[in-house]
């Protein structure tokens, strides 16, 4: 009996006139999104390689260790084919030198703002928008449509238990939609193989998990469709309700969550932090120069009654101590200022982290956000990508600078100052000797991109998995209970 009901659902989905059009559209969208993703990945890979070569060349042209500086680039990852995440939003490289802070520059969107408006269509977008609509389109009349066409009465004039009927409906419509969807998904994977995209076992696992999540998300909307269908009398009412629900879940809640979090946890802007730091630094330097002038006055007071010779002798005797004292104070002051700046940055990061967490919690009331966040985590294109790279670059900067220090000492220490101005890296002031021959760059430490372990991704997607399962089970349970009491007349 159950298999008969399942078969009938499968057949009626495939025999439906809307089947060819809707599934065709979805198949084309899935294939197209992956195809575009592949092209984009290959383009960014070429760009990455070229930029690195150019950087290596520039470094090779450098004639002194002191003037050496480099750039590190964010490495494209094949997962961006399926989920672009924040990949296009954050900068592609940062300069690494003594005098510049780590900052990721030149995102794809900053170069091509048109894409910031009309964002890239990736696989996760197709799932989020198109597949959820597809699920609704095939389930909104699953129960009430049968009532309207009289088949529900005819069915229950037969010895059919309701539980079995609704189970058949659930399983049948799930299979009826998932099987046709797996075809373009498998074709898309074939496309990835065909283009010889370098995928590791880790990537494959991530891809299969992503597909699993996508199907789970799709299943939620299917269950939601059945739920509404089992709780309304007319299919047109159900369709309207579902459309409103879809807009709310997919379009409104994710954005509203972020906006509400922004209101609840205000985070200072970069300019505000900069001006705070400038103010603090100004204040400390003012204090410093006041203390200095006071000290000069004190010193002058001691020598007030002395003769010119005595004064000179006294000053000569104390000069070194004074200079050291002043130097120490200046260093202390600079340390304090940079410590204050660090604290400001830390506070900014913390507040932003709280805001982000709150935004995510609020947004996760929608399965669409839970899916989006999980997809980004699985693809490693999540919101932390920037921080991960910045931290890795920061660590690399220290290694790089230490290496330069070592090389500089080896080649003869401080013997001059060099000021260079360029539009690319701003004003460079460096000290150190100029080497006669070109540098041996083979010893220069290389940057290794931050690794993002699958186990960490899995840990991060757990809450989303739990939420998606919970939402789906609740919707199914609602549909189930709703149908047990459904008036078939």
């Amino acid at each position: 009996m159950l298999s008969l009901l399942i078969q009938k659902e499968l057949k009626s989905i495939i025999a439906s006139p809307k089947f060819v059009g809707t599934f065709g559209t979805c198949a084309v969208l899935i294939l197209l999104s992956v195809f575009i993703g592949i092209q984009e990945y290959r383009a960014s890979m070429t760009q990455y390689e070229t930029a690195r070569q150019l950087n290596d060349q520039e470094m090779a042209e450098s004639s002194s260790w002191s003037a050496l500086h480099t750039r590190v680039y964010r490495q494209p990852d094949p997962m961006q084919i399926f989920v672009s995440g924040v990949h296009y939003d954050i900068g592609r490289f940062s300069a690494i030198s003594e005098w510049e802070e780590i900052k990721l520059r030149r995102s794809n969107y900053s170069e091509d703002p048109i894409f910031a408006i009309f964002r890239f269509i990736d696989f996760s977008f197709v799932v989020q928008i198109a597949l959820s609509l597809l699920a609704i389109l095939f389930t909104y009349d699953a129960i009430n449509g049968e009532r309207e066409q009289g088949t529900l009465k005819l069915t229950f004039a037969n010895p059919v238990p309701r539980v079995r009927y609704i189970l058949g409906k659930l399983i049948g419509s799930w299979l009826g939609m998932v099987i046709p969807l797996l075809i373009p998904i498998l074709l898309a994977l074939l496309l990835v193989l065909l283009y010889r995209i370098p995928l590791t076992a880790d990537h494959w696992l991530r891809i299969f998990l992503l597909i699993g999540f996508s199907l789970l998300f799709f299943t939620f909307f299917l269950a939601l469709g059945l739920l509404v269908s089992a709780r309304t009398r007319s299919s047109s009412v159900a369709f309207l309700l579902l459309l409103v629900g879809w807009v709310t879940l997919v379009l409104i809640i994710p954005r509203a969550g972020a906006m509400l979090a922004g209101q609840l946890v205000p985070v200072p802007g970069i300019a505000e932090i900069d001006s705070k730091l400038a103010g603090y630094s100004q204040e400390r330097w003012d204090q410093h120069s006041e203390a200095m002038s006071q000290r000069y006055q004190e010193r002058n007071a001691v020598t007030a009654g002395m003769s010119a010779e005595e004064r000179e002798a006294y000053e000569d005797a104390n000069m070194w101590a004074w200079l050291e004292e002043e130097d120490a104070e200046r260093k202390k002051l600079q340390q304090d200022i940079s410590e204050y700046g660090r604290k400001l940055q830390e506070d900014f990061r913390n507040r932003r982290a709280i805001q982000e967490q709150l935004a995510f919690i609020l947004a996760r009331f929608s399965p669409a956000s839970a899916y989006q966040l999980a997809a980004m985590q699985l693809a490693g294109n999540d919101i932390d990508l920037k921080t991960r790279y910045e931290d890795a670059m920061q660590a690399y900067r220290t290694i790089f600078n230490d290496f330069l220090d070592m090389k500089r000492k080896e080649s003869g220490g401080h013997s001059g100052m060099r000021i260079s101005i360029s539009s690319e890296s701003g004003i460079n002031i460096s000290t150190g000797g100029v080497d006669a021959q070109s540098l041996d760059l083979s010893e220069v430490p290389r940057f290794t991109p931050p690794d993002y372990l699958l186990s960490r991704s899995l840990g991060r997607v757990m809450p989303d998995l739990v939420l998606l399962v919970l939402f789906t089970v609740l919707a199914f349970a609602g549909a189930f209970v709703g149908f047990l009491r459904y008036d078939v007349r």
Binding site: L4, L154, N158, P159, V160, V488
Partner: protein, 257 residues
């Protein structure tokens, strides 16, 4: 196709296949849709419930099929109380509803196959389906066409074919001839008579006095949830059913006012 109905009829000729005992339904909004209905339909008998809209005919059929639970009393099919054991009761009955759409994206053959299996009849071949469709008057070329291309009359024929294939001792029909053209109506009546002659107990609701008189062995006149009169075919010989119907309706209405 073996004929359970006839056998069932021969084994227990006196027991009614369909019976209502003090069957009542009061809806949650307080409306008394059916008021202590008592009726019996024997094997090989057609019972027509005649009445206007809201008379309680459809409510009675819905109670027989356990689409709703009775407030009082009980409906029995083959001796089984429908609201106590609906699954067992529904094995004994076939149903033809008013204006059945069936599955518009399935062909007639697919619809027949699905509903036959749903009714527990799994042994039918394509040839059986073809024969039964021809018997109800659907031409060969229509058999493999999707139901959405069918006219109302054709769908109704398909519906009766499904009922025939279930091969149940009882058949319930809710306004089966409404909206049919005269020729289709006539063919339908002939088919019902054949089924009766096979020994099935048939309960139909209708507001078509002409058809009721033409086909029914018993006519029950219903008004406002009550069975106000029950006439055997022999009692109707030479009677003007229309006048009788109007008289009962009027009488009852006067009594009610």
């Amino acid at each position: 196709m073996q004929n359970n109905a006839v056998n069932a009829g021969n084994d227990r000729p006196s027991a009614p296949v369909l019976a209502a005992r003090e069957l009542s339904k009061r809806y949650e909004d307080g409306v008394l849709a059916l008021d202590r209905l008592n009726l019996q339909v024997q094997s090989g008998e057609i019972y027509a419930m005649l009445g206007g809209n809201g008379a309680g005919k459809t409510t009675a059929i819905n109670l027989f099929l356990n689409f709703i639970d009775p407030s009082e009393g009980e409906a029995l099919i083959g001796g089984i109380v429908t609201h106590r054991d609906p699954i067992a009761a529904k094995k004994q009955v076939a149903f033809v509803s008013e204006n059945v759409m069936l599955y518009p994206n399935f062909t007639a053959l697919q619809n027949l196959d699905y509903f036959s299996r749903l009714g527990g009849r799994t042994g039918y071949t394509r040839e059986d389906y073809r024969k039964v469709l021809l018997r109800v008057g659907l031409q060969e070329e229509a058999h493999a066409k999707k139901l959405r291309t069918y006219s109302k009359g054709m769908r109704q024929k398909c519906g009766i074919a499904i009922a025939i294939l279930k091969d149940a001792p009882a058949i319930l029909l809710d306004e089966p001839t409404s909206g049919l053209d005269p020729k289709a109506g006539l063919e339908f009546i002939a088919l019902l008579q054949e089924l009766r002659d096979e020994g099935r107990a048939i309960l139909m609701s209708t507001h078509d006095i002409f058809r009721a008189k033409q086909v029914a062995d018993k006519v029950g006149i219903m008004n406002r949830g009550r069975l106000v009169a029950e006439k055997h075919r022999s009692e109707l010989e030479g009677e003007d059913l229309e006048k009788l119907y109007v008289a009962y309706m009027a009488g009852y209405m006067e009594a009610a006012v």
